[in-house]
């Protein structure tokens, strides 16, 4: 068990694998993920500004060179840290109650909080699908991944048309809507939970921290879902 006499390194390893430490890793990677999600959403909302603006933004992102790979590997590492701590903690939490209740009242918690792990699995599957679709162009290839247009600096990918073609397919659009509902729920609990986990949500910070999760969920949900819906209803891309 605990002992102040164990070698320093052993004590450090023990400290870093405690339930609270793992949860802090989950929270910090969650914060990073939430930051990425906002950034990603704001970038993509530029499709409401039209083909030119959107494709210029896409070209800018594509031309980041080394930085693009730093960001990609960083995000992959963050996802790995988040998912692996999630798996470890869910295992511990499940093992902590081997025999369940006949009935258990829920007085305080939310649907989002109860289904965090299931929502996370949906997100993981969606992230894989999403990368194969828009980033890698390995699926739905007939929808225009290879399309090219002439920009001010020469030929560039016509991501705008790829998005419009994709979301014009109701099945694809609805998949994105569903996945972003899951994301909104995951963040509605997560964006509050992460601040509590790092000890921030007490005293005068309690009320703002409790508000930020639901607010974050609504903003990310509405923002991301607006895009497939706008295409499906012809608000963008109809021209």
């Amino acid at each position: 068990m605990s002992s102040g006499n164990a070698p320093p390194l052993d004590r450090l390893v023990k400290a870093l694998t405690s339930t609270i430490s793992l949860k802090i890793v989950m929270a910090v990677t969650g914060i990073a993920g939430a930051g990425f999600v906002i950034f990603h959403m704001l970038g993509n909302l530029q499709m409401f500004l039209g083909r030119e603006a959107y494709n210029t933004y896409a070209e800018f992102m594509q031309n980041l060179g080394e930085l693009k790979w730093v960001a990609r590997l960083g995000l992959l590492g963050i996802l790995f840290g988040h998912v692996s701590t999630a798996v470890l903690l869910v295992q511990r939490n499940t093992a902590a109650r081997p025999e369940g209740y006949y009935t258990q009242k829920r007085k305080r918690t939310s649907v989002a909080a109860v289904y965090m792990a299931q929502l996370g699995i949906v997100l993981l599957l969606f992230i894989i699908y999403h990368i194969l679709h828009f980033t890698g162009g390995m699926i739905h290839t007939d929808l225009g991944y290879e399309l090219v247009e002439m920009g001010p600096n020469g030929a560039r990918r016509d991501l705008y048309t790829h998005v419009i073609n994709s979301f014009s397919n109701p099945l694809i659009a609805l998949t994105y809507v569903a996945a972003n509902l899951a994301l909104a729920l995951h963040l509605a609990h997560g964006a509050t939970s992460m601040f509590k986990t790092i000890g921030f949500g007490v005293g005068r910070w309690k009320v703002p921290v409790e508000a930020i999760g639901p607010a974050f969920g609504v903003i990310v949900g509405l923002g991301n879902i607006s895009m497939p819906i706008a295409v499906l209803t012809g608000v963008i891309g109809a021209n």
């Binding site: 405690s18 949860k23 902590a96 006949y102 918690t109 000890g199 007490v202």
Partner: protein, 252 residues
């Protein structure tokens, strides 16, 4: 409130010992609205004894809400439906004639069932022994003004000190986490000047002990606070996390 007896149906968990499989048993009792919940169980046990059957084992001691012994989950809620109340403070006037009440033990790996509704809560004692103390001289009480303590710290420490170690937080938590208990102890002592000497070691040792006993972790459901008979705030868990990080940054 009527004084007339009510017919209450009970569905009670029976388990002969830690290794035997448990099951629910149905019973009927006639309970007066003035009875406490435990008195109603006393009536049931008298009935069972008269019928030559084994009485239902349940834990109790003070019967006035201060010892934390009367652990049982009543209709899915630790200590029953009332906010800030222990089972022994619950009265049958909460119920109506014909109601069915389901009674189960705390369910957590770290709280194994000893018999029927009685669980072994010594895991809490071991966590407490790991670091939930101050080792300063406690001799005669010092003058009240000898150790200045800010009003807010004193109030908060007092609120956290109200924990009676009953285990309702574990019972209510979807993850069977003991973090409200551990955090109440850590927050109580680390807010006070007397608790500074062991401040860093305390939080480490208590969290180690908590993990060692096999409790789950906090995912911020808030069920513990909602079920705590002493209405201890989940803010304690925020303070615990802070203390833990503070200890993590200390050089040794």
């Amino acid at each position: 409130m009527s004084d007339e007896n009510m017919d209450i149906k009970l569905k009670v968990w029976r388990q002969k010992g830690p290794t035997q499989a448990g099951y629910f048993e149905d019973h009927k009792v006639s309970a007066n609205p003035h009875m406490s919940f435990l008195e109603m169980l006393d009536v049931l046990n008298e009935q069972l004894l008269n019928d030559g059957k084994e009485p239902v084992a349940f834990d109790h001691d003070c019967r006035e809400g201060i010892c934390g012994a009367c652990s049982m989950v009543i209709d899915g809620a630790p200590h029953g439906p009332r906010k800030g109340t222990t089972t022994c403070q619950l009265h049958m006037r909460e119920y109506n004639d014909g109601d069915e009440i389901v009674i189960e033990p705390w369910r957590a790996k770290a709280f194994p069932v000893i018999k029927d509704l009685v669980v072994d809560r010594r895991a809490f004692d071991r966590i407490q022994q790991a670091g939930g103390y101050v080792s300063v001289s406690t001799g005669s009480s010092p003058d009240a003004n000898a150790i200045p303590i800010g009003k807010r710290d004193a109030d908060e420490a007092f609120d956290y000190a109200a924990c009676i170690g009953c285990g309702a937080c574990v019972a209510a938590c979807p993850n069977a986490s003991a973090m409200l208990f551990v955090s109440a102890k850590v927050a109580h002592l680390s807010l006070l000047p007397q608790g500074q000497v062991e401040r860093v070691e305390r939080v480490r040792k208590m969290v180690d002990a908590m993990d060692f006993e096999g409790f789950g972790g906090c995912t911020n459901h808030g069920e513990c606070e909602a079920s705590c008979p002493k209405t201890i705030s989940v803010d304690a868990i925020g303070l615990l996390n802070r203390e833990y990080m503070r200890a993590g940054l200390s050089r040794d």
